[in-house]
Amino acid sequence: MSNVPAIDIHNLTASYERKPVLWEIDCQFPQGKLIGIVGPNGSGKTTLLKNIMGLMKPDSGYVKIFGDKLNKVRHRVSYVPQRESVDWDFPADVMDVVLMGRYNPKKLFSRITQEDRDIAIEALKRVNMLEFSKRHISQLSGGQQQRVFIARSLAQQADLYLMDEPFVGVDAASEDAILSLLTEMKNNGKTVVIVHHDLQTAYEYFDYIALLNTRLVACGPTEEVFTSELLQEAYGGRLTVLSRIGELIAKKDFPVREKGQKDN
């Protein structure tokens, strides 16, 4: 395994309707670790994932994955969106969703092979959902829906996994099961990045943590980040300076970088 960081976030500022919700995020996530992005509600965790996955265009900065542009390494990355982001009434059963993990944008027109099916079945087995494979997705519990999403992600056979709140609405037993699965993946050399907002469990789960609250409060090995001082800072509310300058940017329609100036 090389020493290139799995994810390198450089001076990333991102905003909705011109108002920044992430300020100059600058950090690296190492490979082969279980990494938590932790912060209070509305602190920009989802927004950070979206920027990493190219679902949003940042105002400044860039993200490199395995030292490369996302487009070059897309097949090595798997993204699990927040469960609320899809319509669970969509006419599909569990197997259909997991098979979406086998879609390849370059071969969108070719057929699903037996190999794809085997991989999907294997993924369902690993999340303990094989018996539900013919069930309609609206007839699953929240935790089961989450596991279907994880199975789809497993079916992608990637090296880097980014999951948005995979433990929300999941009971304790399933949470343990998912966690041991993620740990196993990590032990196989995969990098797993998880958005999480429960501080209690974050300490146990993750090797490495990014503490977020519109700005990066800390980023590093769990023991270094989990100090009461840093936690208080992350959960102690917004910074007046940042919110006021954010309002100014929105009001005056100001850019966050001068013309022609690049972050390098």
């Binding site: 100059e24 300076v241 300058i245 001068e258």
Partner: protein, 420 residues
């Protein structure tokens, strides 16, 4: 224009003009609230859904009787609203899907009844078409009276529940949390939309009625951010457009009125889009231009200040400057006494020094802030500070100074300059 006068002298002209402007204004007021609650397309669904009521009312009355048609329209309008509500409550179909379903199915039923009307041999059968695209000129004073009575009722109800509506429109969740019966107000608003649609059917027609509920509100939003301002604006715009529609309806009787009203509204939309003070493109463009100018001239004075910082020199030869300022920048600096010009040399004034110092201070404070509070690497803080230095005013500077405890040096160990 001789011919226009003959229309003005037409006995019904002033009636129709006054009536349509009034009716349209009332409809637009109701539309403002649906716009703010993001329910604009509801008006479209209702407007199409009431066709069976209109055609049925016509068949029942056996003639073009405004009152009966109006009642038919309102009954079917309510049925439309409740069907949409029922489908979206009982199934997983989204509200907008339910709207499309009910709108088109009811319109289909309406078309069936319309063909019945047309083959019925009723004396006034062709008059029904005026309800589709509007025919203001065909309105009789009696018709107007009926519509106006309904419009006045709508206006009164609107005034009565105005406080509730305004709270719900701006913050639904908050209204709910302080114990507002949001569902009841919603129901009243739906009834008002039905009534507002029904009163417009003869002047604008039901096919394009939605425009009267949506467009004036959207235009008003571009000009005002206050509810009362929006209401005044949307009412006035709708009245004006309807007035033009009425005139056209008299001058060109073969033309339906509705499309002209909508066209006028569309033109207003395009104009507002360019020149409106709230969100106009011109304003956006000017703002960016202004930002660019601020950045240019502040960068110019900052560079002079940096040179002074290094060498103590206050006199420069214009042509030897590394980044030559634009004419505009130079003029601004001269006018504001930042610099004085003598031939080909410029001289940095006390005021200019102060300005350069202020910007440099803002720059370095911001770098320190990023480094300390956002824990950015010191070699990454510069690009952001290049912009924020232009944005940090006196207030923010004080805030930064307080937060950082009046620091002496920035992350690159350069002095943070204070006023001596």
């Amino acid at each position: 224009m001789d011919s226009l006068w003959t229309y003005f002298n037409h006995p019904n002209f002033w009636w129709v003009l006054a009536g349509t402007t009034f009716l349209s204004a009332i409809s637009a007021l109701v539309g403002t609230f649906t716009y703010l609650q993001r329910k604009s397309l509801m008006g479209d669904a209702i407007a199409h859904g009431i066709l069976p009521g209109v055609a049925g009312g016509f068949l029942l009355a056996g003639e073009k009787n405004a009152l009966i048609i109006m009642i038919g329209a309102i009954v079917w309008g309510l049925l439309t609203v409740s069907s949409i509500d029922w489908i979206s409550r009982k199934t997983h179909l989204q509200n907008s899907t339910a709207m499309a379903v009910v709108l088109s199915a009811f319109f289909g039923l309406g078309m069936m009844l319309l063909t019945v009307v047309q083959t019925s041999g009723l004396p006034d059968a062709s008059g029904i078409n005026s309800f589709l695209f509007g025919q203001a000129a065909s309105m009789l004073p009696e018709d107007l009276l009926v519509y106006s009575v309904f419009a006045i009722v709508v206006a009164f109800v609107l005034a009565a529940i105005y406080p509730h509506l305004s709270i719900i429109s701006f913050d639904r969740a908050a209204a709910q949390s302080i114990g507002f019966n949001v569902r009841r107000i919603d129901a009243v608003l739906s009834i008002l939309v039905v009534a507002a649609t029904a009163i417009g059917i003869q002047s604008i027609g039901l096919i394009l009625m939605a425009a009267l509920l949506i467009t004036p509100a959207a235009i008003a939003r571009m000009w005002s951010s206050r509810l009362i301002g929006m209401l005044l604006f949307s009412g006035a715009i709708a009245a004006f457009a309807a007035g033009i529609g009425a005139v056209i309806s008299f001058t060109a009787p073969a033309m339906p009125t509705g499309p002209w009203i909508v066209l006028v509204l569309f033109i207003f939309t395009l104009i507002s889009m360019v020149i409106s003070p709230q969100r106009g493109l011109l304003k956006q463009f000017r703002q960016q231009k202004k930002n660019q100018n601020i950045i240019l001239r502040e960068n110019f004075i900052k560079r002079l200040y940096h040179q002074w910082e290094k060498s103590g020199q206050t006199t420069f030869i214009l042509n030897e400057l590394k980044d030559k300022p634009s004419k505009r920048t130079l003029r601004f600096a001269l006018q504001n006494d930042w610099i004085h010009q003598v031939g080909i040399t410029i001289h940095l004034s006390e005021k200019g020094l102060r300005e350069g110092r202020r910007i440099t201070r803002a720059h370095r404070l911001w770098e320190l802030y990023l480094s300390r509070t956002l824990r950015m690497r010191d070699d990454h803080v510069h690009p952001s500070a290049e912009v924020m230095e232009h944005l940090i005013g006196d207030d923010l500077e004080k805030e930064l100074l307080r937060t950082l405890g009046y620091p002496q040096t920035d992350p690159h160990q350069r002095d943070i300059p204070y006023e001596p």
